[in-house]
């Protein structure tokens, strides 16, 4: 630097060099700021601008007419109406889809697909430049109509089957991931929230209701799975080659008689299981807890967690509605995979311990087995359409291949035996569809205490060419075979035989 004062003695190193270093440092810091601005304003701009909470979306919703939502048969589920003051509000055709379509209210925000696709429904383009050019256009938006994969008829049938019970039914096409029904019971009056005349009263009543009708149980409810989780254990076992379909655990027979001792803890079989050692299909048919406890121990904690993760556990599902995270364990344990000890792992093998799942997650387990081991991304919207944009169909999307086709076929066979075998029929009475090969697994989730257990069933049909996969959960519904299995059978029959929702 040439900044020394002329003609004055220099006694020390000048501060000039240090100042240059500071200047360079500050310039770099401001470069980071520029990078940050670029990140939010270019890279993330689209995602931020179409977020349902974004004031731009909310402001546009005030002026723009939202697009319609229709089911797979073209029945209008959500449309617009004007009140006496000329204010536009949303009306909904049927409370059966309240947890799917949700609501859009000026006072209470939005939920469901109304929230997820708020930017599309109000017609906000995701192209900011084109958006700006339209700023002074009196009709600035191009609202998109949503056509769903869901069938209102099937959804109604599912809710009718659940009746007054709380619970959930998920039906989907395992080949595409298209959701056919996503029912949560009880439902609520979404139109009451959206209508300005009734919104405050409806909102207050729904939030005060102890049965939590606003909770979408199919996607956000987390339940002990019981025996339906055995399919996850089977997938982990065959997938990791810990055992084969014909593997027999010789220690099972003694366990069936006196209980299986794991680290001093005795696991007992439920009643009605003939005492002997089984292979995969046999154990699945009689729903042997001892077999699946031994299977989980053979698989190990790391592999069980890992394979559950491949099915979608331990993270929000790639879905259009918010989903709760399904888990095989609380995590944090040092036994492997987050399990605390061998006892927890053995109990998790048949869906007890700290295992919690959403009905949607279990439906995806069944669908993965049905689809030769390939997990498809579950989705509700079949296509977008608008005046300017035409029809944009949503393509089916593979999440990943979870399991080899041979292993999947072995589990299909086991699940079919569970529904159609002579012993299996005792546990899954009523799931079988006359004339159509059916596969499935029932579950009875013990909750401790004196109450009835949760009643579960997952399955698919036809077993040799699956077109529909299903998960049914009835809270406090008793044994899986008693409540969930017959309902699942009836719903699949309605779809496959009677053509409901086709």
């Amino acid at each position: 630097m040439s900044d020394l004062p002329i003609g004055r003695p220099i006694t020390r190193r000048p501060v000039g060099a240090n100042i240059t270093a500071v200047g360079v440092g500050l310039a770099l810091a401001f470069g980071v700021l520029a990078g940050g601005a670029g990140w939010w304003q270019v890279v993330e701009a689209g995602r931020l601008t179409t977020a349902p909470d974004n004031p731009l979306v909310i402001a546009t919703a005030r002026t723009a007419l939202r697009g319609q939502v229709v089911d797979r048969a073209g029945i209008v589920l959500a449309s617009n109406e004007r009140d006496a003051n000329g204010e536009v509000f949303r009306v909904y055709a049927d409370q059966a889809v309240s947890h799917v379509v949700g609501y859009a209210s000026l006072l209470f925000g939005s939920a469901g697909l109304e929230r997820t696709y708020a930017a599309d429904l109000v017609g906000l383009r995701r192209d900011p430049v084109a958006d700006l050019l339209r700023k002074f256009d009196p009709t600035p938006a191009d609202p998109q109509d949503l056509t769903l994969t869901l069938s209102l008829d099937l959804q109604r049938a599912a809710l009718a089957g659940l009746g007054a019970d709380r619970g959930a039914v998920v039906m989907l096409d395992p080949r595409t991931g298209g959701i056919l029904a996503l029912a949560s019971s009880p439902v609520y009056d979404a139109g009451g929230i959206a209508n300005p005349a009734t919104s405050r009263a409806t909102w207050a009543a729904l939030n005060a209701d102890p049965v939590q009708p606003l909770l979408p149980r199919a996607t956000l409810g987390r339940y002990v799975p019981g025996s339906v989780f055995k399919i996850v254990t089977a997938i982990a076992g065959l997938g990791s080659d810990a055992f084969a379909p014909d593997t027999i655990f010789p220690e099972q027979e003694a366990g069936e008689r006196d209980g299986l001792v794991v680290s001093g803890f005795r696991i007992r079989e439920h009643a009605g299981v003939p005492v002997r050692s089984y292979d995969l299909a046999g154990a699945t048919e009689v729903s042997s807890n001892i077999y699946y406890a031994l299977a989980a121990l053979a698989v190990g904690g790391d592999e069980l967690s890992d394979w559950a993760g491949r099915l979608g556990f331990d993270a929000a599902l790639p879905f259009e509605l918010p989903t709760a995270v399904s888990q095989v364990t609380n995590g944090g344990g040092d036994f492997g995979g987050g399990f605390k000890d061998a006892v927890e792992l053995a109990n998790a093998g048949y869906g007890q311990a700290e295992t919690f799942v959403t009905p949607l997650q279990m439906a995806l387990v069944a669908a993965t087995v049905a689809n030769d081991g390939v997990l498809m991304r579950p989705h509700l919207v079949a296509s977008f359409s608008s005046a300017e944009g035409g029809v944009r169909p949503v393509r089916p999307d593979e999440v990943r291949r979870v399991l080899g086709a041979d292993d999947a076929a072995a589990i299909v066979a086991a699940m079919r035996q569970a529904v159609e075998g002579t012993l299996g029929r005792q546990f899954t009475s009523g799931a079988a569809i006359q004339g159509i090969p059916t596969a499935g697994k029932s579950g009875t989730a013990e909750l401790g205490g004196t109450g009835e257990p949760h009643s579960w069933f997952i399955g698919f049909a036809p077993a040799d060419d699956p077109q529909i996969a299903i998960a049914v959960l009835v809270e406090r519904g008793g044994r899986g075979g008693a409540r969930a299995a017959p309902l699942a059978g009836a719903l699949m029959r309605a779809y496959l035989v009677d053509g409901v929702g086709r």
């Binding site: 501060v15 240059t20 500071v22 700021l33 601005a37 304003q41 701009a45 909310i58 402001a59």
Partner: protein, 480 residues
Amino acid sequence: MTGATARPLPAIVPGLRPRPRWRELQLLVLAAIALFVGSVSLGATVRARAAVAADAPLPEGALAPHDLTALLVYLGALFAAHLIQVLAGRRTDQVLLPAVGLLGGLSLLLMQRLPQSLAGQLGGLAQTQLIWLVLALGVITVLAVGVRSDSWLRLYKYTWAAVGVGLLVLTFIFGRDVNGARLTLDLGPISGQPSELLKVILVVFLAGYLSEFRPLLVEQSTRLGPLRLPPLPYLAPMVAMWAIALGIVVIQRDLGAALLFFAVFLTLLYVATARASYVVIGLGLFIAGSAVMYRLFGHVAQRVDIWLDPFADPQGAGYQVVQALYAFGRGGILGTGLGNGLPVVGGRLPIPEIHTDFPLAALGEELGLIGVLAILGLYLVVIERGLRIAASAADDFRALLAAGLSLVVGVQAFIIAAGNLKLIPLTGITLPFISYGGSSLLANALVVGLLLALSDRGVEPPPPRPPRSRLARIVDRGAR
């Protein structure tokens, strides 16, 4: 550098020797054009939006400035500041005033654009800010023209330090809590934020202290195992600074000021000594202090948690930050245009403190990435000028003073901009020259005025070191 080509004009009156400032004039004209065009953009957008909302046709002459009077008042003050400096004939820096003037003009446009009821007793947000801006330009001019000697700063550093600590204590005791932070001091009808003034006082003290003890700090050290610590007696102020910074966080709950003070202190220490070890030790203390405070104090932990994931609670704790990010996102590359952003939705402000804490988000929305980069560039220009003044200063005190003053502006702008952009936890300090508020504008005007005065190449030489009497030494030691 600045006055190299400018020859003094003949004296009009004895003692007054005007000197033209062509570069400053050229830049001021550019700034004025920019602000005029910006005002037209704002005015046209506001009129068009009003017409669309009322479903009325666009009024005649919609393409006109938003508030011509306010703009002319501001530009008049800017050119008056220029003219007075020309008349005074000092060879001071010619870039700082236009750069700061442009930032202030952007502030005026932003305040005109926000709801006027947001703040300000003197006729609304924009008008109050205009008054403060004109006062700030006055302060800049008076200091740039009037300060001929720095001895009043250099000789009384302990007095200044005492004033600073006094201000801090006064705020602790008599301060008013605003949003959980005790920052505001009321003096009759006037209220102000002393921490803004405190930062200038801090720099004056540090420049005096470090320039006096620089040889000792550079050459001596205390060995502690492999570490080379500063000489222990001179370490005391460093620890004191650290303690004061922590005190500000704990008692005033002002994370931003604490961060600013500590960063400026460490950087000045480095400028004075060129010893990275001091900075490393300081950073170590900072990290340790932060970790302890994160565990002990809820408000610190909350800020950090919001920073890590504001989307965890977008309607509650993370609301402001999320809304700021939405604003940046809506701006995109080119922005929505002045006046066309969404600071108000349905009569409600998504970002409550937009005029003080989030002006960059508001400008980022309306001017886009391009505008944000230009604003960052303007701050870099101010910093570059300040550091250059420091580098060419006649002695250590002036160099450290100028460096410290530029750092105050640069680091403060960085902290709040980075907070807006979610690069660091959000703190409630102002964006220099742009945020609404008299304390902030006047304190930063002090900084710019002093920098201008320091940049005069014809300034009198630094005074000889005064013989130190026994009494002075005792007093100094006591003050240390």
